[in-house]
Every structure is written in C-alpha cells, then in structure tokens.
C-alpha cells in the first residue's frame, strides 16, 4: 500500500514536471500515470487538473496547456470553448477522452450540468480507461444534481463502489438502494440503505427508504422500528419537518398494514395540520376509521374531504365510500345524494378523459395539459382552459413520476436560461453546443412526461369505469334497503328517527377549550378537519 502511494506521488511529480515543459520525460510519465489515474481516489477538481498527453506536437501540447490554464484560472467559458474546439479535432483523437472530461468539468463549474453529463457519457462510451472512472464519478454528481434518473442509472451500472471517493459513496449507496428498491429487491435495498453513513445528507432519506423497503418486503415490525428511529432522530426538528412527518405518516401506514386500526388512527392524528401531507393522512385515516367501524368518525372526515376546499381534488372513491357508510346506517336519502354527486362529478370527467384519449393526441399535447396544471397550481389567477378535466390532470401532476420528471425539466429550463441570458456565452460555439443538447433533452423530457400523463389517464379511465360499476351496485343496495324499510313500516315496525340535532335546546359544553357550533354550509380554512357528524343511525 505504502509502495503504491509513493509511486503515485512520484508519478504526479513527474507529470507536473512534464507539464512545465520537460518533454523528454513526458511519455514515460504519461504511461505510468495511466495506471495511477485509474487507481487514485483523490478528488479531481479543476484547480488541480493536469493534461496528460502523448502528443509530440508542441503546438497541440501548448493548446491543451492553454485550455487547462484558462480552466485553472477560473475562466470556464473560455476554457470550455477551447476544449470544445480541441475535442473536434481529428489530430487530437487520442486525447479526446481527456479533453471531453475537462470540457465536462468546465460545464459543471458553469452549472451546465446536462451538457456536462453528455461529455462524461462520451468519455465512458469511449472506454478509455484512463478517464472512465473519473467520468463516472462526475456523471454521478451531475445526474444527482439534475435528478436525471436515466443517466444516473447509466452511471451507477458502470461504477465500482470501491473506486468512488468516500464523499460520494453515501450518495452511490443510496441511489443503488433506490434502484434495488424499485426493482422489488427489498433485502438488497435494505442492505444498501444501511450502508449510508449517518453524517451523509442522504441518511434520513436512506432510513426512510429502508423502512419503506421493509414494509414492502412484508416486515412491518422492522419497518416500524426504522420509521420510529427516523422520528426519534428528527424529534428536535420543527413540527412540519418533511422527514419527521413522513416518518409519522409511515408509522400510521405500517399500523394500517398490520391491521391495527386504532394505532393507525392515533398515528394519523399526530400528523400536523400545516404539513402538506396532512390531506393524505386525513384521507387514509378515514379508511382506517371505516375499517375500525367508526362510522360517525368516517362521516366527520368526509365532511372535510367533500368540502369546497377539495373541489379540485380527484377522490372519486371517497364518495362511494361515504355512500356505503350511509348504507350501513340506513341513511338512504343521504346515500342517494352522494351517489348522485358521484355521477354528476365524475361522469363528465370520465367522458372527457375517454374523449381525449380517443383523439390520438401527441405526447406534447399531454405535456401541455399537465404543464397548465402546474401553472394553475402555482397561480390560481392564471386563466387556463383544460381539455382534460382539471381534477384529473391536477391529480396526475401530483404523481411521483410526473413530479420528478417535471422537476428535471425545470432544471433543464434553468440551464437553458443560463445560456440564453448570457450574451457572452450564447453566441459562442460552446453556447450553441450546450443549447443544442439542452433543447434535445427538453424535448425528450416533455415527451416522457406526456407519455406518463397518458399512462395515468389510461389507468384513470379503467378506475372510473370500475368505480362506475360499483356505484351501480351501491344504487341497487340502496333501493333494496329502501324497500326493506318500507316493508317494515307497512308491517308497523317503525322506529322514530332520532338525531342529536333534534334537540333544539342543544347547549354548548365547553371542555378543554373546545366549542362547537352548527355547520351552515360555509367552509372555513381553520375549520377544515374539525367537522363532526353527530347524526345517528336510522336502521329499523
């Protein structure tokens, strides 16, 4: 080991000397350096980069040295232009990998991550072993910044973890774990998540991912332990801390998975109201309440979920669920209203989705629809007309795959803006080259998002069709229930319908700072989640 270090130092000294102009030693140094570069794990930054060249031409050598000098002095656009020009020269074909690598480094420094990624991919494809490892390492970094999963996977599949600098290993383990996780290899994913160090910025995500993999691998107790560990570690964080809330939500979901409804309800109730995950928690808590046969509580939550605050939400099954609860408590009139509401709300949505899907729209059309949804989500005042119903397209815009790719698209747009808004860069060959790459990627990303939207819409169509059939069954049950009630009434077995609201002398009882008042059709932001159904069952 010591021997290798000494050898490495010696070769670097020799390389430095050769760079300064000791041409006679350059060849030998480069040859030896080929080995060293592959084996070293030292971080290569633009400031300590060197040119290792086999060329004997003084002119070529000096051109390379000039470009490197520009990079070292922080003149990245000029350096990038020089490297780009050199990379196109046939007489420097043998140095192309090196030149491309440095071109990529310059682009990274200029925050042109996508353009840089392509340089590193070119280097990897060239199979030039002198530069492959560094290129993979850098590709890993830029793709992580971009969130470009395709290129990230490309890089990860070619990397030897042991050769990656320590500071990037956690990220690599995390990304590898994610890949295994997505592939359904939960045990391997857990092992890789475990390797992410506690000092890493990926640690909490890894802990969360680990719990998720354990839960998906049907190990709910282990999953609970992982989520609780994450929750404990984030105990001092602010109430709405994403990791903290996500851990709490996952605890609730794991209890649900274990069919421990009461514990699940308790865990869902601990989600803070001012977290964006609260809505999801409320929806899932409603299911837990239904499973726990807490019908009154279920109806209370529906009052929130079906309030006008959720008028743009796509939650068709909640309406059917509500009607089923009314069926359980023999509230047939209410049940009919809710099933009618399902037909009124989701019938047209289903028709419009069908019509849109049958019109053979291009990916770009689908992308345009979801793009409008993202704009409206940000700015409700922006007037956009949708071909796909807003509820549906908004729901699709919130899907994980669409969100991730859209976020990548935003980064590409930022990159293009960076080129377009810099006149010194835009007109240069480098600017034109980078702009070309980004434009192509933008087009491709839009197309991918479009395809995703189409796939989600197809799923929605199937789902709505299925729910529509269920609605028909529910109607049948409702008519049957009404018929049975009438029969009983004819036979004289009537029971006076009672509700708490019949007591017009309803007073308020203040306990622990709570007060109640009747709901009169108006929905207030501070009341969302505080509605309580106080009716009673009407079964005879």
């Amino acid at each position: 080991m010591k021997k290798n270090i000494l050898k490495g130092c010696l070769i670097h000294i020799l390389a430095f000397v050769s760079f300064l102009g000791w041409h006679s030693n350059a060849d030998a140094a480069t040859k030896r350096n080929q080995k060293t570069v592959v084996s070293t794990t030292r971080k290569q930054s633009p400031a300590n980069s060197k040119i290792y060249t086999a060329t004997k031409s003084t002119l070529q050598r000096s051109q390379l040295a000039n470009a490197l000098g520009l990079m070292k002095s922080g003149q990245y656009p000029q350096a990038a232009n020089s490297f780009l020009s050199l990379s196109r020269r046939s007489d420097l074909a043998s140095e192309r990998s090196q030149i491309k690598y440095y071109l990529g480094l310059c682009m990274m420094e200029m925050s042109l991550n996508q353009a840089a990624a392509f340089q590193f991919v070119d280097v990897i494809k060239s199979s030039d072993k002198r530069w492959t490892r560094q290129a993979i390492e850098k590709l890993l970094i830029v793709t992580d910044r971009l969130g470009d999963e395709t290129l990230l996977n490309y890089a990860i599949q070619r990397i030897d973890v042991n050769q990656v600098p320590t500071q990037y290993r956690d990220m690599l383990y995390f990304r590898l774990a994610e890949i295994k996780h997505k592939a359904g290899l939960f045990t391997e994913a857990v092992n890789l998540y475990n390797k992410v160090g506690s000092q890493s910025r990926f640690y909490y995500s890894a802990l969360y991912g680990k719990g998720l993999a354990q839960a998906e691998g049907k190990q709910p107790d282990l999953a609970l332990a992982s989520f609780k560990q994450l929750l404990d570690m984030r105990s001092s964080a602010r109430v709405t801390d994403v990791n903290k809330v996500a851990a709490q939500l996952s605890i609730a979901r794991t209890y649900y998975q274990k069919q421990n409804w009461e514990k699940a309800i308790e865990a869902y109730s601990a989600i803070p109201r001012d977290s964006f995950m609260w809505h999801e928690a409320l929806f899932e808590k409603t299911w837990a309440m239904l499973r726990a046969a807490r019908f009154r509580s279920t109806l209370s939550n529906f009052q929130t979920l079906h309030s006008t605050f959720y008028e743009d939400a796509y939650i068709p099954e909640t309406l059917l669920l509500r009607s089923i609860v009314y069926l359980y408590i023999c509230k047939y009139d209410e049940m009919e209203k809710v099933v009618d509401l399902f037909d009124t709300q989701y019938g047209p949505i289903s028709k419009k989705i069908n019509a849109y899907l049958n019109q053979n729209h291009s990916s770009e059309n689908y992308f345009q629809e979801v793009n409008k949804a993202f704009i409206v989500k940000k700015d409700a005042e922006s007037n956009k007309s949708f071909s796909i119903p807003y509820n549906a397209i908004k729901h699709i815009a919130e899907e994980g795959d669409v969100r991730r790719t859209y976020s990548y698209l935003k980064k590409l747009n930022e990159e293009r803006k960076l080129v377009d808004e810099n006149p010194n860069l835009r007109a240069t060959p480098m600017g034109v080259y980078a702009s070309g790459i980004i434009t192509n990627r933008l087009k491709s990303a839009r197309s991918i998002i479009g395809e995703m939207v189409k796939a989600h819409l197809l799923n929605m169509r199937v789902e709505l069709k299925d729910l529509n059939e269920q609605a028909s069954f529910i109607r049948y049950e409702m008519i049957n229930g009404k018929k049975e009630t009438l029969k009983k009434r004819i036979n004289g077995k009537t029971m006076a319908e009672e509700t708490d609201s019949e007591n017009q002398d309803r007073a308020f009882y203040i306990k622990n700072g709570y007060e109640y008042y009747p709901f009169q059709g108006e929905y207030w932001l501070d009341e969302v989640g505080n509605y309580h159904y106080l009716g009673k069952q009407s079964c005879e």
Binding site: H279, S300, S307, F309, P518, Y523, L525, D526, V528, L534
Partner: protein, 262 residues
Amino acid sequence: MQKTEVFVVKKVLKIVLAASLFLSSSIGIAEENIDVPKDELVQETVYPVFDNPVSVKNRNVQDSHAIDVGIFGGLALTEPISNTTKMGVAFNYHLNYTHSVGLVWAKNSSGLSKDAQGIKEQFGLDYGRAPAPDYAVLVDYNYKAYYGKLSLTSNGVINTTIYGSFAGGMIKYVHKSYPMLAVGIGERFYFTKSLSLKMDLRLYAHQAPIPFKAGALCDGSKATCGGGGQTTPGRDPVPSYDSFEERLTYTTNLEFGMNYLF
C-alpha cells in the same frame, strides 16, 4: 327542513370562551355533553396547507356584485347644540367581496340638543337662533377588511363584516351648504344571508357656523341674560344666519341601521 347533523368543533380563544360562558349562563340553556373522541379533536391552531389558500369557501353572505339598501338612525355624540339624532337611508353596490360604494342620505332632527335646551331654560340663551344642519348627502366607500362569523349560543351562526368607510358629500344647513368628509369604521351582523344589522362610527369634518355668538342668543326669557346695551333687558336682536362665523367642525356619529342584500 334539513336537519343539521354536522357541527364544527374548534379550539377557540379564551376571550371568546369567556364571552360564550357569560352568554350561556345569562340565557340559561341547559348544558349537554357532546362526546367526540379525543383523537378526533383538533390539537393545533394552525391551518392546513393548500396550493392557493383562501379563508372561506361557499360563503353564506354573497355580497359580491350585489345591491343592498337600508335605513338607519344616528346619534351625533359630540354635537353640543343642535339636535343629536338623525335618520336616513343608504344604498350600496358591492363591487366585490372587498369594496363597495354607495349613497347615504341623512336627515337631521330639528330642534336643540338636551344640553342646549337646558341652557335655554336656565339662562335664556336660545341656540335655536343659530343655523342648524338640515340634511346630508354622501357618496360612501366601504373597504370590507374582515368577513367572519360568530356563534354565541352554539345553536346558530351569525356572519359579520368589519369595514372601513370613507365618505364625501355635502351637508345642508338651514341657510347654506358645505362640503363634508367622513371617515369611520363599521360592522354588519347578518341574521340571515340577506338581512343585517349595521353599525357605523364616523367622524365628520366640514365647515359649519359657530353657534356661540355674543349679543345674539338671549331670547328675553331671562332678564339677566347678556350684557348692557340691550333695548329689552335679556333680549338680543335676532341675528341673521349669515352673521355667524364659520370654522372647521368635527362631529363623531354613531349610526345603527338595518340593511337588506339583494
């Protein structure tokens, strides 16, 4: 009639609780316990997060692009001489949920204030000789800063709006008209979606005759009124309205009215 089966249970501020307790005891409604499981009661006073949050949806009082008319009675709290009461009609057009413009016509009652009447009886000073306000016409702008609701007994909910008012117009005295400006705050309490009780507190500013004029107010009922030089002891010659000096006058008015929203 549809029965109310959904209630809102909320943690409220202590001050509201205190007010509610007082009212509950004063109206003597029997107490009743509502059992809602603890895990369903709100633990926090923060709001849920929405993409484009708004305070209220499906509001009961739809006063955007709506007209309301009303009648009101008022009291000039700081008026020393003239009769302090007035009555009027108001017409408003609500441009949206925040702004409204309207016209107000207010007729002042004739006669003197109680204080001025007392002075007349005790000292023989007749301020009725001074010019008094007759009526006022104002263009009124309201900025509705707050829309909320109150529940005092848990049996019902009253919606309310609090607004700032800015008005400009003319006030007509018996002999002359003056431009007038007014600023104030007001509140409406909606008993139904249309019918509301309106309260306004306004500060009026306008040029007005000064009623305190030496040698002009003694009506002869008290011989000791006034100084020397009177042809009849205690009786000043009746002055012309134009002889009174003028100055910028501020009056605070409290007005109550009933309005109907169409």
